[in-house]
Symmetry: C2
């Protein structure tokens, strides 16, 4: 997605440890016009899918999913919640996600009543890097029995393993910008 790539080049900054900061438009401050263009692009790529629900994970996925849902006939958005101590009461799907950024393992939960075998799910998130968050979300979809229609990612770090892992599982993964390499003063996108 050309507009997104241009924005990453213009406003993204690279920090030590392969960190790409896009906090001025995607995950701290949010550019609503850009999010609308991202939503339209997800719709274009998944136009043939009978999506009934969009699944994401807190926090930075939520805004993207809500704006995108407007282009999918206003289907409901559900977001998985991160927690570190829960009493599982049988009404929740749960899975574990390791966060390298925060060096923690989270329990991630979703109320069972909001994702069922009748659903056709599109999973949306802001970043895909090592794939831990996405694998957790896919685990929840699997547990629910819902049909996984695909996964939409805004920025994929193509030099980390997540994209290959997810595609090798047979998931239809669409990333709007894939970064193949990144240094302090250059970014290379996959064609």
């Amino acid at each position: 997605m050309q507009l997104l790539k241009e924005r990453i080049l213009k406003d993204g900054t690279v920090k030590p440890g392969n960190v790409l900061k896009v906090d001025s438009f995607l995950n701290h401050q949010i550019d609503i016009q850009l999010l609308n263009e991202i939503g339209k692009e997800f719709k274009r790529r998944f136009a043939d899918c009978p999506i009934t629900k969009i699944l994401t994970i807190e926090a930075s996925g939520i805004g993207i999913a809500c704006i995108a849902a407007q282009y999918f006939d206003n289907v409901p958005v559900v977001f998985a919640k991160k927690t570190q101590s829960i009493n599982l009461d049988g009404e929740m799907y749960s899975t574990k996600i390791e966060s390298f950024t925060h060096k923690k393992v989270y329990d991630v939960i979703l109320a069972k009543k909001f994702l069922t075998a009748e659903d056709h799910v599109l999973v949306i998130d802001d970043f895909l890097a090592n794939g831990c968050a996405m694998l957790g979300l896919l685990d929840i979809v699997k547990k629910s029995g819902a049909a996984l229609e695909g996964a939409g990612i805004v920025i994929e770090k193509g030099f980390q393993q997540g994209g290959k892992l997810i595609r090798d599982m047979g998931v239809r993964l669409e990333s709007l910008a894939i970064i193949d390499s990144m240094t302090d003063d250059s970014l290379t996108f996959r064609e």
Copy 2:
């Protein structure tokens, strides 16, 4: 806001400890059409304010703020982040918020570059109860020097202190539904 009140009566459930669960449409699963009506109503109530930025806090405020921003000429949304251990580096506003739900004190941070003295801010959140989260957000606005235009809340628990606290500070607070009392089988809204 009539549509919202009807929805709360229809789909909200009361749990022990004065907990109102609206997770089927507001803060776990999200009804995008309802969020659009909420966004329009915030615009109607703050139509005379020269809003340049909407401030909220993760996680459940984000979707509401992003959809609402579309009715305020697509102004940027910024969301404050909850964290329990941070290295303050001088580039962040920070404040402390006590969460009664989670029985923790969070550090809440916002990058200074995303809220400045030039901004006219509308603060948006899903719930107002004891007011801790809102007081934290107002503290961040004060530190930034931005002009506080007002605060928009989806559901205010009118029987807790937050609303009175915030209004007594002189803040223009608009709550779309104010609940004055709540039992297992009845809800009373303020007129």
